[in-house]
Amino acid sequence: MAEQHALPTTRGRWWLPVSLVVLLGALALGVMVGPAGSWGTADWNIIWNVRMPRVALAGIVGSMLSLAGASYQGVFRNPLVDPYLLGVAAGAGLGATIVFALGRSTTAGWPVDPLPVVAFVGGLLAVLLTYLVGASFGAGRSGVTLVLAGVAVTSLATAVQAFVLQRNNDVIREVYSWILGRLTTATWSDVRLVLPYVVVSSIVLLLHRRHLDVLRVGDDEAAALGTQVQRVRLAVVIAATMGTAAVVSVSGLIGFVGIVVPHAVRLLAGSSYRRLLPLSLVIGAAFLILADIPGRVLQNPAETPIGVVTAFLGAPFFILVLRTRKVAA
């Protein structure tokens, strides 16, 4: 299972330009296709105000989730890890549910929409709790304790969310559409809101791509090679969590992207994080933009939730990954 070569091969050099071309194609297709008609027939007002921000947000969310997923898989050396591992999704979901339960009519007059803010804070608090719990029981050097703490915090937050929801069952539809992912209401202000977090997070993660390659040999060996294992792990986890919490707060929970895309990239271009991270960023953006197209046109003029599309494509792919067993985290 160990990778034969960690160095990017010459063949690998082609993948980045190729994936960029794919992304450009996805962008063009995403902007051209939609319920209101194709590029020539649709009103510019709709294309600019509704379709373009949605395509942009899909791209940003897709790239962030894929990059975070690949990074988490690296630091925890576990191929099954997704960006929601440490409780970000459950914490953000709880935060969003609380805002919905407060009543959107109450919050409508507030100067700032509390939904993304509270979801973001909820996600970060959940991960902080996971980290404190994991650390207090002596986080194993491979991070297993941390992962288990994440499972516990996720269950806790989900239970509280279910309770709040049960007490306010008039908001079930809103919470439900948030949980299944909502690119449906994307605006340019959403894009402006998340972009700074995603840019900072992506830069930090990309800067650590060589460290992630070293970590693949094991903590002790990596330490012997001069890597500060705990510092790298902390930096990567914080950056990935920040980015994930930011995108989740505006897009809701979009499943499987963070697992499917990094593994697809591994199958195509090898497991070196030097290639995996930038490729995941680009392919992830293209994937979610393309996945959102059936969401918009499949049941036109009705919507198909993006989370349904990604999971529907993701689950069979996941089985394929398990079968081919070419994955080395």
């Binding site: 209101a36 509704v50 009543g103 959107r104 409508a108 908001v171 809103e174 449906t184 605006t187």
Partner: protein, 318 residues
């Protein structure tokens, strides 16, 4: 010891088979029902007079309502004094608020309901509650979500019979019919039927005409933009692009209470200013509760749509 045990077992088996046999015999005839009831433990015994006969028999004095719609109907036909408790969602009329409890119609707890010692429970049949109440021998009436105006009238009349307010129920139905007829007649016919978008929540969930809500707009010949969906659901989530490109003449917001949407908030959505409804100010708020309950206040709903239609007619005239 062993022998005695076997004998006991045989005896038990014999009794069992006899009982089973008797059961088989009696299943088809009504005669065994009576002895079964007399030998049965307390719950069914005490409640035996209540079920089935409630319509013609004694008038219920302790009604528990788990449906906000049924609560509105009960108070409108003068049965409010017989109501002892209403569920947490029942918030109309004001007199009902005095009887508000934490009882839930979505996740009903039959023990908590039974604690009010009701002699009639009204609910919407969306849960398994009916079977549980039957097993306790508590009479219950089900008013499922109405699909047509006739469903509403029928439910009001049924409640009138069940609570001993037949005359009031008949009068209420007559008044509703008259008010709705008058509201519809007050609106001038338009050459081209306006198209509307009915919003259930800010993520663009809507309804098709195949619902009670669609029925209300249908009175006025309005066209629903959601009717082009070919899905199996009557509550589709429309895409924003589609709504804007359809440029509906009227927008009805049934998400003002839940979600704080308003004429202003819709106008501020990017791209929406271009729609006919926003540019002509034809965005109307319908109280979330009125739009989701099939009770007596459907008259208010119809009147509101009539007012909206009059506004649109004025626009096209002037």
């Amino acid at each position: 010891m062993k022998i005695r045990f076997t004998a006991l077992a045989t005896a038990a088996a014999l009794v069992w088979s006899l009982a089973a046999c008797g059961d088989d015999d009696g299943a088809s005839t009504a005669t065994t029902a009576a002895p079964a009831a007399t030998t049965a433990p307390a719950p069914t015994d005490t409640a035996a007079p209540a079920p089935d006969t409630s319509a013609a028999g004694p008038v219920p004095e302790r009604i528990v309502s788990l449906s906000p719609t049924a609560t509105e109907m009960l108070f409108a036909i003068g049965a409010g004094d017989q109501v002892v408790a209403v569920d947490e969602m029942s918030n109309y009329p004001d007199e009902a608020l005095a009887k508000a409890t934490a009882l839930s119609g979505y996740t009903p707890n039959v023990e908590a309901i039974a604690a009010y010692e009701p002699d009639l429970v009204v609910h919407d049949g969306s849960t398994d509650l009916g079977a549980q109440l039957d097993s306790l021998g508590i009479a219950n009436w089900v008013g499922a979500a109405a699909m047509t105006f006739d469903d509403i009238y029928a439910q009001i009349e049924q409640l009138g019979v069940a609570t001993g307010h037949v005359d009031e129920a008949t009068a209420l139905v007559a008044n509703m019919r008259a008010a709705i007829e008058q509201a519809v007649a007050s609106v001038p016919q338009l050459d081209k039927p306006p198209r509307y978008y009915h919003e259930l929540d800010p993520t663009y969930f809507s309804v098709t005409s195949n619902t009670f809500i669609g029925e209300v707009y249908g009175l006025f010949g309005l066209r629903n933009i959601a009717d082009t969906t070919e899905g199996t659901t009557d509550y589709p989530q429309l895409s924003e692009e589609f709504i804007i490109s359809q440029s509906p003449d009227l927008i009805f917001l049934a998400d003002s209470k839940c979600c704080g949407e308003s004429r202003d908030s819709v106008a501020q959505r990017p791209g929406w200013a271009a729609t006919s409804a926003v540019s002509t100010g034809s965005v109307f708020i319908i109280d979330d509760d009125i739009a989701s309950r099939w009770g007596p206040r459907v008259v208010d709903y119809v009147q509101l749509v009539a007012d909206a239609m009059a506004y649109v007619a004025d626009l096209s005239a002037g």
